[in-house]
Amino acid sequence: MFPYIPHTPEDEKIMLDSIGVNSVDDLFADIPKDVAFNKELDLPLAKSELEVTNYLNKLANKNCSTTENVCFLGAGAYDHYIPAIIDHIISRSEFYTSYTPYQPEISQGTLQYIFEYQTLISELTGLPIANASLYDGGTAVAEAALMACDVARKKKILISETVSPQSRQVLKTYAHMQDIEVVEVAMKDGITDMEDLEGKMDDDVATVIVQSPNFFGVVEDLKSSADLVHKSKKASIIASVDPISLGILKRPGDLGVDIVVGEGQSLGMSLSFGGPYLGFLATTEKYLRKLPGRIVGETTDLDGKRSFVLTLTAREQHIRRDKATSNICSNQGLNTLVATVYMVTLGKEGLREVAMQSTKKAHYALEKLEQSGKYKRVFDKPFFKEFAVSSNIDADKIIKDLRSENIIAGHHLGIDYPEFKDSILYAVTEKRTKDEIDKLSSVLEGI
């Protein structure tokens, strides 16, 4: 017997009799002989819960966790504090063991939190419409760009070199398939080079993608970019943003950005070795019927009660098939609940405070690191919670030496930007203490 399979031999007999066959094997008689798998799978036999737990504990313990080490690593995934309340709410099995809310009568819980999520994302970004989420920040950039091309009926995308290298790679993979041209806009001193952008704008451009704070943590001038892009008829601007930064920085929607996307991991999701995270997407009314993914809308039921349903579904693959706005079928479900509870728990003051503390501690850290004279800031530009410093010490050595002091170093910029081979990008969230920052600084000083 297996714990998740309830059938007794007597049950099996009753059921086989009802079907009118003699054995379970008879139920597979329609699989032709030359296709049937007549061996045993080369996998271990079933194990007990205790054995499995012991084995996986052993694997887990081989990793260096951010609870046992001090994490200054970011570059797209951040070690923010996750309120205890979140795991308790998402552990309600009415939430996590349900599926897509196809039957609104028994899915109002899921539908309502998605509606709340859409509202919160809309408020955060300053745009009126948000969908029910996409896989992650990178695919959100790609989906938004494809949508913008579709609406503009053009096949050229400009993307700044300061946008996360991963997002650019994902975009290129997607765009290549539809013969859409992707042109990179150069960077200058850690931000998008506006002259290069202006030079590359032409009538073929469907959309321009920028990121702020950008991959280097530097805050970009979204307003100037938006103004420049909108000089071109039909072109739109997409901004990828860190949702935490919106606790203090101007909302992209208020600066003229048409589509805002981003990685939502900072909104209460554990680092979990890169996923599952959450891609958010907000935009203007113009794109409402062209959005990829699910959308929840408010309506009333037979008795006039406020209720929520999946709406505008004629855009989606199960109805529109080859003419759907995207092939996406799921959304990030439970992770939208995580983000919702995070934003609600922090609320009006909390999100601002997390943003404030992160930026103040990051600025303190940079100041501290520069004191020794060994490390210098790479970009002299306004930054949020992440900054790059360079030195004449080998980056790999720095990372290794910090590791032996139980510090998870920042991201080596040379991996994606050869011109910054001596630079490391440090992230500082509200979780880091002065003592931890001081220790980072003193260890670095001693290398």
């Binding site: 019927r289 505008l312 579904t313 004629a314 109805i319 529109r320 003419k323």
Partner: protein, 127 residues
């Protein structure tokens, strides 16, 4: 099912109302019945030059979406923007709710379409 006399009809259930070198195009009563409550219509842009059989519009209900095809070639002169705000007009009065007004590029294509009598027979077979 209502069929209006004097119009041309296509097998995809579009109707064409000709006025000189210009024509209005819409969807038939049969088509709106098949779709159910229409919630949205996508319109082409003015000046779009469309060939016969191009899909130029899409009509959506809650559970279905259907492309609308050009029964004849033409250049878009006007689109019926009232339908954007009130797509239900396509249900309540499909023959008054034209989708586009076009300039006909080849009037001889009208000969390929059905008369109201022929269309009536066609839909009775399809239903």
């Amino acid at each position: 099912m209502k069929v209006v006399k004097g119009l041309y009809y296509s097998e995809d259930h579009e109707w064409v109302k000709v006025e000189g070198d210009e024509a209005y195009i819409g969807i038939s009563d049969f088509a709106q019945h098949q779709l159910g409550d229409i919630v949205y219509i996508e319109l082409p842009e003015i000046d779009d030059e469309l060939e016969k059989e191009d899909d130029f519009s899409a009509v959506e209900s809650v559970k279905a979406a259907s492309d609308v095809y050009m029964p004849v070639s033409g250049k878009v002169l006007e689109v019926n923007e009232d339908l954007l705000d009130s797509p239900e007009l396509l249900n309540s009065d499909p023959f008054e709710s034209w989708i586009v007004k076009i300039e006909l590029t080849d009037k001889s294509q009208l000969d390929d379409l059905m008369s109201s009598e022929e269309y009536e027979e066609f839909t009775s077979e399809e239903a």
